[in-house]
Amino acid sequence: MTRDFTTDEALSPDYEETAERVDYSFGLKRRSFVQILSAGLLIAVSAPALAQRRGGRGGGGTRSIAARIHLGKDGTITVMTGKVEGGQGARAELSQAAAEELRVPLSQIQLVMADTSLVPDDGITAGSGSTPRTVPAVRQGAAAARDLLLDFACKRWNVDRNAVQLKDGKVTDAAGQRTLTYADLAASDDASKALEQPIPSDVTLTPVKEWKVFGHPASRPNGRDIVTGAHKYPSDITRPGMLYGKVLRAPSYGAKLTSVDLGPAKAMKDVVAVQDGQFVGVAAPTAFLAEQARAAIAKTAKWDLSPHPASKDLFDYLKQHAHDYPSASPFADELAKAKHALRQSYHVAYVQHAPLEPRAAVAEWTDGKLTVWTGTQNPFGCRSDLMRAFHLSEDHVRVIVPDFGGGFGGKHTGEVAEEAARLAQAASRPVSLRWTREEEFTWAYFRPAALIEAEASLDDKGTLTSWHFININSGGSAVDTPYRSGKTRCQFLRSETPLRQGSYRVLAAAANNFARESFMDELAAAAGTDPLDFRLAHLENPRLRAVLETAASRFNWKERASKKSPNTGVGLACGTEKGSYVAACVEVGISQGNITVRRVCEVFECGAILNPDNLLSQVQGAIIMGLGPALREEMRFENGEMLNASFRKYHVPRFQDVPALDIHLLNRPDLASAGAGETPIVVIAPAIANAVFHATGFRVRAMPIEVPKL
């Protein structure tokens, strides 16, 4: 199998976990900025920042135990991580990791997350990376601290390791007479020196069969603060003397500000207004007044508009602008001699993450140092952005990420922090900036739209003999087929993107699986084979087979697929991404062109299960979230303006959309744990599309799925 990408860059796993940056550079004229750059003065700042972006995903590198764990003399145990909590469950899971290895009750762990001046850089929180990379990093640090306690006890009592036992945070000697705790270790003379040691790479982690914390449900440690409203989200942070900001946005994509009069805003009592190049914003004692000030200067602003493609022409545009589009089919011979040769195109629309908490930041300057509280999935990346925008060194910027209101891959950037910081600088007061829903739907980034072309051939036994698959614009995640398919080429081609685009839960794997699994269904029909049998006949991977076979049998696929009942259809799909495996069978009802997803049976496997409750939540959430782009969600735009930048016009899943769910989590304690927040989404759209065909005979080749009214 060959795997082609248009550029080397695309091979980097980081490629898709980024989003187009808003390149703010404040306080310098563009020309001088460029001059400084070419003179090399800024390189010292941006080169390490770049290195961090590229290398900082896993939290590797040698670190001291103290950088990860602080043991208090009062018995408190504080664990530090650069990961963030946006609802995906990292706080519970990383607390479990520490508790497991330290052998203390979960409730004893205090987890400090994502404060760049306190925690190690564990990289961006994305790509299901916390489970395979940060969990082991935290476990190693905790296990090293545990070994210190054991050594300390052995030394103090002059006994050897097998004469002591560690349980519930206490070491006990063989006779059960003497005990020592982490507090005793912390109070000992050489504790700080011992903790300054690097975490040994050969430290022993607790084997799965001895797990006491992992593998059991762990609820969110700050759950009580969530239900009482006590938890402060980024948009809730309040600082003394704080103002509220608003930013003047362009009327359309690509519009350039030519002039604006800040006078009307400055004339308002207590209002601060600032222009710095294309950036224009205001700050006021209330958001209401700030909005009035923004509206007043918006009336004076003059813009140079630029042409922008419309969403109705999107897929032609992507194809016309595709880089290195192949001039001919690579497997023309196979197609010529095939029993069946099929070729189809699939469209996947731009969608928005629409986390319930829009982007928000509070910025505060003290003595030339900047502190920002913001909801970002990339705290250290955000710090780099702020350093670059304000020409500051690392020790002058602190980014703190309170647990925030949802990300789904949509908060990898720090633009709101930069904007708040610029306003705070102008106001000489702390400023809170909270994007509106409309801003979020217009100026945040989007899941890339995809045009996917697939071509395949079958021999007279119904076996695939060739497979050519091209994803244009959306990305290379899961572009490779898991099926045995003869001569195979899978490609991702870049294109020009009309909208700002970036990561979204599972990246391009959703689009690629939609197209592949829909196409596989068409091929099965051409071969005259049941879609389940057709897949199994081409599938070797035992883990993928296992989830598919389990889902089919729980759903009673064979019997239900062979039955035809009016307005009802069943469909299935499977896929793998980020080291986890998923299959789903769905039942849909159709009337008057309306699709109702009645039942979803999904089987998911991600290795050894760490937190079964949270895993179930993630799978449920992914399935239901996936219904949106499958059935309704689609950004529409024309002349550079969004046509549906509101929850009134952009319809995300709600209570009444929830189907009957039969979710089965396949536990594989013998396998390494993979992240689980993303992959469960990939099978939803194709399974629905295939069910629509089963019910109506109409082939769906676009997300969102539309069926003609019959």
Partner: protein
């Protein structure tokens, strides 16, 4: 022009001098530091901003503060009595009915408002009433469990002994 508006919030009388057109949501969050009510859309589409106005769940982003004059408001901060959580909060905590939790205060107050009106709601009552509340983490399954659990409790305590 600013007006003086007086209302009872979480059992305390408060007076603010402000533009009467400002949304109640902003006044609660910015003037009274009651940040439990959240902004999610500003147009009645998500109900993250839900508070109780005279016991009824309302979207505070759509309620000009003038409408709260001389009225009684309860926000998520005022729902528990001291350390004792309200039964709906208990139910949400017990079911783990949150992922990011940003929708939670609105969901809880929406449920309290529902149960104030219908102590024993049917499944359809729950679905049609809660349909206006958005959870972008799509945690609806566990939210429904928590709402049913809370409804079961109120139904029990409302039933004649």
């Amino acid at each position: 022009m600013d007006s003086k508006i007086t209302f009872t919030v979480n059992g305390q009388s408060r007076t603010v001098a402000t533009d009467p057109q400002r949304p109640l949501l902003d006044v609660l969050r910015e003037d009274l530091q009651l940040t439990g009510a959240k902004y999610g859309c500003g147009e009645g589409q998500c109900r993250a901003c839900t508070v109780l106005l005279n016991g009824k769940a309302v979207a505070s982003c759509m309620t000009p503060v003038a409408e709260a004059d001389k009225q009684t408001i309860v926000t998520i901060e005022g729902l528990a009595s001291g350390d004792k959580l309200h039964p709906v909060q208990e139910a949400f905590l017990a079911e783990g009915a949150f992922q990011c939790g940003y929708c939670t205060p609105g969901m809880i107050l929406g449920t309290v408002g529902l149960l104030n009106e219908l102590p024993n709601p049917s499944e359809e009552d729950i679905l049609s009433r809660m349909q206006r509340h958005l959870c972008r983490c799509c945690h609806y399954q566990k939210l429904l469990k928590a709402i049913r659990r809370a409804a079961g409790q109120t139904a029990q305590s409302a039933a004649p002994k």
